[in-house]
Amino acid sequence: MAGTPHTTSLRTYALTRLALALPMVWILLTMVFLLMRVAPGDPISAALGGRVPAEQLQERREAAGYDRPLIVQYFEYLGEIARLDFGETIVDRRPVTKVILQNGAATLELTLVALIVALGVGISVGLISGRYRDTPLDIAGRLFGILIYAAPVFFLGFLAQIVFSQWLGWFPSSGRASPVTSFDLDTPTNLFLIDALIALDFDAFIDVLKHIVLPATTLGLVIGGVFIRLVRVNVLQTLQGDYIEAARARGLSERTVVWHHAFKNALVPVITIIGLQIALLLGGAVLTEQTFNWPGIGSELIRYLNNRDYIAIQGIITFFALLVVAISLVIDLVNAWVDPRVRY
C-alpha cells in the first residue's frame, strides 16, 4: 500500500513536466523558424542564387512552396517536425534525418567516450580537491580545473596533435578510422567501436580506438573541468552537513565518514550536472569535430553553414533543440525518481 501514492506522484510529476516541456518546444521551433526563414528570405535563393538560371530558381522555389504566405509555411514546418521530417538539404539533396542518423552517430560515439573521460577526471579531482580543502592538493586541483576551463577545446586539440601525433606518433590526428578500416568495416550502427566488436574485427577495433583517443580526451577534459568545480563544491557542502558530524560523533573512522557518507551524497547532483552540460557537450563537439576532422553532425552543420544551405541548417538546429528538451526531460525524471523532494 505504501508504494501506491509514491508511484502516482511520480506519474503526476512526469505528466506535469511533459506538459511544461511542450511550450518550450514550441517556442524553440518558432524561434528557429523566425531565424532561419523570415530573416534571410527564401532558402533556395539564398543557397543557389546566382548559380542557377532565374527560371530554374523560380521553379524550385515553387516546387518547395516558398512562394506561399509565411504563416502557411510556418504551420507546414510544425507539421513536418511533428512527423519527424526535417526536410532535405539543398546543396546535396540528402534528407536531414539521414544526416542526423549517419553523422549523428559519429558525434554520439565521440561524446559518449568524452563523457566517460570527463566523469573520471571530474569526479576524482573534484573529490580530492574538496576533501583536502585549501591544501596544496586543493589549490592544484582548482588551478587544473580553471586552466582546463580556460583552454578552448581546439587549443587543447592543437597541443594534443602536436605532442601525441607529431612528436610521439602515438595516435592519428584526424578522422574516425584509417582508410583500410573504413573500407573493410561493415557499419550497421555507425558507432564504429560497436561495429568493430560486432564484426569481431580486433584490428579494426584498435584502429578505431586509436582514432577516438585524442578527440574524446580533449573534449572530455574540457567538460571535466566543469565537473571538478561542481563536485568540489558539493563535497565541501556535504562535509559540513549535520549527519557528517553525527557520523563522526558515533566514532566512525574518517575513511568511512568520507567515503560512505560524504562522497556518496556529493555525487548525487552529478546526474543533474550531466544534464546541464549537454549544451556544453554539443557546442564542444562541434569544435572538436572541426579540430580533428571528425565527420560528425557538427562538422556537417559547419559545412552547410558555409554553403548557406538554410534547410539543412534549420533541420539540424531543430534537431538539436528537440534533443536538448528531451534530455532535460529525462534528467528531471531521473532526478525525481532518485530524490522525491524534487517533485512538484
Binding site: 511550450p23 518550450m24 517556442i27 524553440l28 524561434m31 531565424l35 532561419m36 530573416a39 534571410p40 585549501d134 589549490i139 580553471i146 586552466l147 576551463y149 580556460a150 583552454a151 578552448p152 581546439f154 587549443f155 586539440g157 592543437f158 597541443l159 596533435q161 602536436i162 601525433s165 607529431q166 612528436w167 590526428s173 549537454i278 549544451a279 556544453l280 554539443l282 557546442g283 564542444g284 562541434v286 569544435l287 572541426q290 579540430t291 552543420l301 559547419i302 553553414l305 558555409n306 548557406r308 541548417i313 538546429i317 538539436f320 533543440a321 536538448v324 528538451v325 532535460s328
Partner: protein, 316 residues
C-alpha cells in the same frame, strides 16, 4: 566613506581568496595594457608581412630574434597578432557584456518585480534560449548577421550577447523576487513611492551587487565564445583585426607539419586571459559573497586595567 564600505570585504580578505583576487587583477591589467597600447608595444602591425625595406618576413618561420614568436602561414608576425588580439578580445567582450546587461538587467527587473503573465512568458523564452547549446546559438546569429551587415566587432558582440542575456535575466529576476518582499521595499511602497522609484532606488541597488561577479565570469566565457566563433570562421574578418580563434584555425593545419608556434602563442593568450578573468571573478565572489566569506578571527584586545596592584599585595 562609501568606498570604504565597498572595499571593506577586500581588506578583510585573507589567504587564498586574496591571492586569487590579486592574481586575477594583475593578469587582467596586463591584457588591458596590451590592448590599449598595442601599436606601441607590438614590433609590427597585425597584418604587416614585410619589413620597411620591402623584404618579406617569410611564411611559417621559426621563432627568431626578429620574430620572437615566429611567423604564420600568411607571413605575418605571430607576436604582433597575439598583442593586437588582446585589443579585439577586449573590444568585443566589453561590447558584449554591455549589450547583455543593457537587455538582461531591465528585463529581469521588470519581470521579477511585476510578475504575472509577462514574467511567465519572458521566463519561458529565456529558459528556452538558455537550454539551447550556446555556441550553436552564437554561430547561427553570427551567420545570419554576417549575411546582413558583414563580419566585425559589432556582429561578434551581438552574437555573444544573445548567449548571455538569459543568464543576466535569470540572476536578476530571481534576486528581484527575493528582494521584492523585503520590508524596506514594502515600506517604500507603503510610503507611496512610484514603482520606478522602488525599482530604481531600492531593488536595483540591491541587485546590482551581483553584477560585477557575473559580468567578470561572463567576460571570461565570452572570450572563449569569441575564439570559438573565430575558429569556425564566423568571427571577425581576418583583414580587419587580429583574432586568436581565427589564428588557431589556421594553425590546425600547421600541426600536421609539426609547426607549433603559430598555435601555441594565440592559445596561451586565450588561456591566460580567461584564467585571469576567472580568478578575478572567483576572487570577487569569495570576497564579496557573505556565505562563502571566511573572515579572519579578530584578536580581542582587552582594555588595560588602570592600576595593577603588585602581585604580593593581592588579597591584602
Amino acid at each position: 566613506m562609501l568606498g570604504g564600505r565597498f572595499l571593506a570585504p577586500i581588506r578583510e580578505a585573507r589567504g587564498v581568496p586574496l591571492w586569487v583576487l590579486w592574481a586575477g587583477i594583475v593578469i587582467t591589467l596586463v591584457f588591458i595594457v596590451l590592448a590599449l597600447f598595442a601599436p606601441m608595444i607590438s614590433p609590427y602591425d597585425f597584418d604587416e608581412y614585410r619589413t620597411g625595406t620591402g623584404e618579406r618576413f617569410g611564411k611559417q618561420q621559426h621563432p627568431s630574434a626578429d620574430h620572437p614568436f615566429g611567423t604564420n602561414v600568411l607571413g605575418t608576425d605571430v607576436l604582433a597578432r597575439v598583442i593586437f588580439g588582446a585589443r579585439t578580445a577586449l573590444e568585443v567582450v566589453i561590447l558584449a557584456v554591455f549589450f547583455s546587461l543593457a537587455v538582461g538587467l531591465p528585463l529581469g527587473l521588470v519581470s521579477g518585480y511585476y510578475g504575472g503573465r509577462l514574467d511567465r512568458l519572458l521566463v519561458l523564452i529565456m529558459d528556452s534560449l538558455f537550454a539551447f547549446p550556446y555556441l550553436l546559438l552564437a554561430i547561427v546569429v553570427a551567420f545570419l548577421l554576417s549575411d546582413k551587415i558583414g563580419r566585425g566587432v559589432f556582429t561578434a558582440a551581438v552574437a555573444i550577447s544573445v548567449v548571455y542575456i538569459p543568464q543576466y535575466f535569470r540572476v536578476v529576476r530571481n534576486h528581484v523576487i527575493s528582494v521584492r518582499e523585503e520590508s524596506y521595499v514594502e515600506a517604500a511602497r507603503a510610503l507611496g513611492a512610484k514603482p520606478r522609484t522602488v525599482i530604481g532606488r531600492y531593488v536595483l541597488q540591491n541587485v546590482i551587487q551581483n553584477v560585477p561577479v557575473i559580468a567578470t565570469l561572463n567576460a571570461a566565457d565570452a572570450i572563449l565564445t569569441l575564439a570559438a566563433l573565430g575558429f569556425l570562421g564566423y568571427g571577425i574578418q581576418p583583414t580587419d583585426a587580429a583574432e586568436w580563434g581565427y589564428d588557431l584555425q589556421r594553425a590546425i593545419s600547421d600541426a600536421g607539419a609539426g609547426i607549433w608556434w603559430t598555435g601555441l602563442f594565440p592559445g596561451m593568450a586565450i588561456v591566460t586571459l580567461v584564467t585571469g578573468l576567472t580568478l578575478l571573478g572567483e576572487g570577487l565572489n569569495d570576497v564579496l559573497n557573505p556565505v562563502l566569506r571566511r573572515r579572519p578571527i579578530q584578536a580581542v584586545i582587552l582594555p588595560e586595567r588602570q592600576s595593577r596592584l603588585p602581585a604580593d599585595q593581592v588579597g591584602v
